[in-house]
């Protein structure tokens, strides 16, 4: 009898040791996991702080109001940020209607057939195409075949194609969250499909769509490779013609065809110069660029967070 108890005690101890051992591994893994997260945090901190360290002193108001120059100390990002804003304008005007319409079609209208399947698979695959390939597409189609040249219009349309999958996917997800009852209610009152879509589906999904659009634009504003491929110039010391004129008809679309540069290209140009003074400029431009994309992405995340909190069907 006493031997049996001893044995039980022994094996009990064994089991406890085993449990302790496995629990130890659990704790070790938690440490490793936190370390990995820390590496991410530290990398981001190092990236941002090293730019602030180098570029802070260049972030004066003149930096935003001067053209690039051969003298690093006088160079600024005026043409770059104006170019970025104008390109984003074209991108948004092209990508948002097209993407939302495509999303609405796929979610609300599309019949279940092979064509719809192809469109869906295609949207998924387009999201995985490297951005520089879009640049080659634009070089062949927008710059040469359609003759838009190396203009703001070409760049804006290129980036619009690039973020189209993002807008489509965001639209579809936002629409999918709307319960069927809303549609049935509208149909029961005699609304047509388009009336239902226009008056209910699109308004109710607009916050979700907006989130996707902002994320897409934040990606587009930092995108460099496709714009280099279509041949944006790196040294632009003038602004595109203004969209508003003082003579009739008061609006001008000449700016669409103007040569341009954008923020990431300006930064790339400065980074690739060997002189230290230009790399300081690159750091300053980098701060502006990172803060811009962080603000846009942050806005999108906040919007989505609020949406999840407030929206209870």
């Amino acid at each position: 009898m006493s031997i049996g108890t001893e044995k039980t005690a022994e094996s009990l101890q064994e089991i406890r040791d085993l449990i302790a051992k496995h629990k130890r591994w659990d704790r070790i893994f938690i440490v490793i996991g936190l370390l990995c997260l820390m590496v991410g945090v530290l990398a981001f901190a190092a990236l941002f702080l090293s730019m602030v360290w180098h570029g802070w002193e260049r972030l004066t108001p003149e930096f935003f109001t001067s053209f690039p120059s051969r003298k690093a100390g006088q160079a600024g990002i005026l043409s770059a940020w104006v170019g970025s804003v104008l390109v984003m304008l074209v991108t948004a005007l092209a990508a948002v209607p097209l993407g939302v319409m495509a999303g609405v079609y796929l979610e609300e209208y599309a019949p279940k057939n092979w064509l719809t399947d192809i469109i869906e698979i295609n949207v998924t695959n387009l999201a995985g195409v490297p951005s520089i390939v879009y640049g080659l597409l634009a070089l062949g189609v927008f710059v040469y075949a359609l003759g838009f040249g190396r203009s703001i219009l070409s760049a804006g349309l290129t980036l619009a194609l690039l973020i189209l999958p993002v807008v489509i996917v965001a639209t579809r997800e936002a629409i999918r969250a709307i319960p069927v009852g809303i549609r049935e209610g509208a149909y029961a009152l005699g609304a047509t499909k388009w009336q239902t879509t226009r008056d209910h589906i699109i308004p109710y999904s607009s916050a979700g769509i907006l989130t996707g659009v902002i994320i897409g634009l934040a990606r587009a504003i930092g995108e460099t490779a496709p714009i280099i491929t279509i041949g944006a110039l790196t040294f632009i010391a003038f602004l595109p013609p203004p969209p508003l004129t003082d003579t009739f008809p008061f609006v001008s679309f000449e700016w669409l065809m103007a040569p341009f540069t954008v923020m990431p290209i300006q930064m790339f140009n400065w980074v690739s110069r060997p002189e230290e003074a230009f790399q300081v400029n690159a750091a300053a431009a980098g701060i502006v660029l990172v803060v811009m994309t962080l603000l846009m992405n942050g806005l999108a995340i906040w919007l989505r967070y609020r949406l999840r909190k407030n929206l209870k069907w």
């Binding site: 981001f44 319409m101 390939v133 942050g298």
Partner: protein, 322 residues
């Protein structure tokens, strides 16, 4: 609701007057409304079709220019040549050096991104509390949104100098630091897709494992990861596609010299960096030099397409249905 409403409020008409079971004319939708509905549907359809047109245009442009290129250069020389000097007086068109650069930098990036991404995903999905996850996920998303040109600056002017302290012989441009930074850059993509896949594993599987006395780590590695394998594989494939298609980090930090080597401590050029380097110069439209970037782009597209198809196949093969 407004203007398009077609059902007019009318005084009641007895059914006997109405005759057969056809809606009376004032209750039927107006022809103009029907046409408008159809037109809108068609417009929406063409918007959706535009994405297909984009794909077709990509393929047509790349293949068309590449075919012109292959009229000048035998395809076998392109695939097997070990020298890439298209802009020299005596041009050689062997894609292998560029391919090698792409493979070396992508491998380094994956050596960073796959373990880190997986560990972070397991940690967030199986260990972390609700609050930690709510903070970490948006942060990773922000990290993924930083422009790649900024990561290029980071690689060239921050990581390389630090690596040079450890490895004094490291040149200013090298594949190692570009690859490492690219890896850090890809971590958020890999971890977020991995985590989604793991969270989709039903709770019952975990509970069963816990009931058998398994710890969290045992459950994660023996139950959750195998169950989520198809999604995790998809995340890795996406990571590979990102690494292969990444441009700016490599154009800035890896050096722009085609180099047929497997040594990550040397500078080299990737397919993407070559396209950027050529586009920065002013190449005349239509020459062989101009066509090379399309041939390089086609190679790149075929590579990512291959990975994507592989990923699709993996996902099919290992999909677990619950």
């Amino acid at each position: 609701m407004g203007n398009g409403t077609t059902i007019v409020n009318e005084t009641h008409t007895p059914a006997s007057v109405r005759g057969p079971a056809v809606a009376p004319s004032h209750l039927r939708r107006r022809a103009s409304t029907r046409i408008k509905e159809k037109l809108i549907e068609t417009a929406l359809f063409f918007a959706a079709l535009s994405s297909v047109l984009t794909t077709i245009a990509i393929v047509v442009v790349l293949v068309e220019e590449s075919l012109l290129f292959f009229e000048h250069v035998p395809i076998w020389d392109f695939i097997s040549g070990t020298e890439w000097t298209p802009l020299f007086d005596n041009p050689k068109y062997g894609i292998l050096p560029l391919l090698m650069g792409t493979l070396v930098t992508s491998s380094i990036a994956l050596c960073v991104a796959v373990p880190m991404g997986t560990i972070i995903a397991i940690y967030l999905s199986e260990f972390a509390g609700f609050r930690a996850r709510e903070i970490a996920k948006p942060f990773l998303e922000l990290l993924a949104g930083i422009p790649t040109v900024v990561y290029g600056y980071f690689a060239l002017l921050f990581v390389t100098p630090i690596l040079q302290l450890l490895l004094p012989n490291l040149p200013g441009f090298n594949m190692l630091s570009a690859g490492l930074v690219m890896g850090i850059m890809i971590v958020p993509y890999v971890s977020s897709i991995c985590e989604d896949a793991m969270r989709a594993v039903p709770m019952g599987l975990r509970e069963g494992s816990f009931a058998m006395g398994a710890t969290r780590l045992q459950t994660a590695s023996n139950v959750v990861v195998p169950a989520a394998f198809s999604g995790i594989a998809a995340a890795y494939i996406l990571g590979i596609s990102r690494a292969v298609g990444e441009t700016m980090v490599l154009a800035i930090a890896a050096g722009n010299q085609p180099n047929f080597t497997l040594n990550p401590m040397e500078p080299a050029q990737t397919i993407t960096a070559y396209i950027v380097a050529v586009s920065l110069g002013d190449l005349p439209h239509g020459g062989v030099g101009y066509q090379t970037i399309f041939a390089a782009g086609l190679t790149l597209l075929l590579m990512t397409l291959g990975f994507n198809i592989g990923g699709h196949w993996l996902r099919r093969k290992y999909r677990e249905a619950y």
